[in-house]
Symmetry: C2
Subunit: 215 residues, 2 copies
């Protein structure tokens, strides 16, 4: 290590950090954020505990870094591609479709840190809970903005309450996750899509036109 240049050392450090985060994401997907311990990560990666500590000073720091990496990937898969769509209903619908795809492909086979975290941390105060809540709030703010833009573009009716729409979208997604994971239902993605279509339909500015477009 001592012979490497500064750049090489940084790259190596970043690589090790990435290996730890990858192991942490995979462990959290099985055990939840509460299953993340420095010891478990050391065991998964074949590193020493002190080696892990060199990159993450505490268990809490590791949990928060894992949550941030999870969010970064979620954004890359769901949020950023949707921004390529025009503001308004198209973007909102794309957000939802990509979200369903993400939950179906990534989270149902493993677990969703947001949703298992919601249960693990709902009454456990501390920095991890704060990070989890602010991450979910960030995602919901993005949904809220997409709904507001769809109203501004007159795709959704001006009486639409964006908070209510976001509440209902989130409930649909919790239902999808619950039914697929616990009840082993194989049509919950389809049901979620139908529920969202009805939700949007109810808030369209011209529902009579939409009926023909939807079918």
């Amino acid at each position: 290590m001592l012979v490497g240049t500064s750049t090489e050392r940084k790259t190596k450090g970043e690589q090790t950090r990435a290996v730890i985060l990858e192991a942490a994401l995979s462990l959290a997907a099985r055990e939840g954020l509460e299953g993340l311990t420095i010891g478990a990560i050391a065991a998964c990666t074949g590193m020493s505990k002190s080696g892990v500590f060199a990159h993450f000073g505490s268990r809490e720091e590791l949990q928060i870094a894992t949550l941030r990496e999870y969010h970064r990937r979620f954004e890359a898969q769901v949020f950023l591609p949707a921004l390529k769509q025009p503001r308004g209903l198209r973007r909102l619908q794309t957000l939802f479709t990509l979200w369903v795809a993400h939950v179906s492909e990534v989270e149902i086979p493993q677990d969703c840190i947001y949703m298992s975290g919601a249960v693990d941390y709902d009454d456990r105060p501390g920095a991890v809970r704060e990070e989890l809540v602010s991450t979910i709030a960030l995602w919901r703010a993005a949904l809220h903005r997409a709904v507001t833009q769809a109203v501004q573009e007159k795709h959704l009716h001006f009486s639409t309450d964006p908070d209510q729409l976001v509440f209902e979208m989130y409930g649909i997604m919790l239902g999808l996750h619950h039914d697929a994971r616990l009840m082993r239902s194989d049509d919950s993605a389809h049901r979620a899509t139908r529920a969202f279509a009805r939700l949007i339909q109810d808030h369209r500015t011209h529902p009579e036109h939409q009926i023909q477009k939807v079918t």
Copy 2:
């Protein structure tokens, strides 16, 4: 104990069992079903471990008995009172209203075993998971029946898909629970009620009459 009559002994045994179950429900409300151990219950009740074992032969048996007692209370608070309402929309709406009240009064201040259990057991096979899934399926079958009756009574449109309606009702309730517990939102019961009103509205046989009533 040896001097008591058979009836007295039985009553005492039942009383002890009830004390254990009460402690188990309270512990599970804080820690989830996974937090239930014979040792923890012994500590809570001041009994010996072998005393608890005399009533529940294993940790799993205790977890299942706790789940059943939880369900019995849920039924008594939500399901049975709704049966006093006439079949059809009135009964369905009463089921939902009592469910929201139950979640708001009992489950949000503590925790909902069904919902924390959904995360704890979604990928943990075994008898507790089986019991949890069949209990939730039982409750959903009751909701399904109430929807079907509302269609038979021509309160809801004949094209209504009861499975879809139950999926959406469950999602609304998961959203209520999530937002109240994790996000500390104070209007989630109100949002859940609005979401359900819209859901029913969309499936009414005479929506044009209903629009005037809702506003």
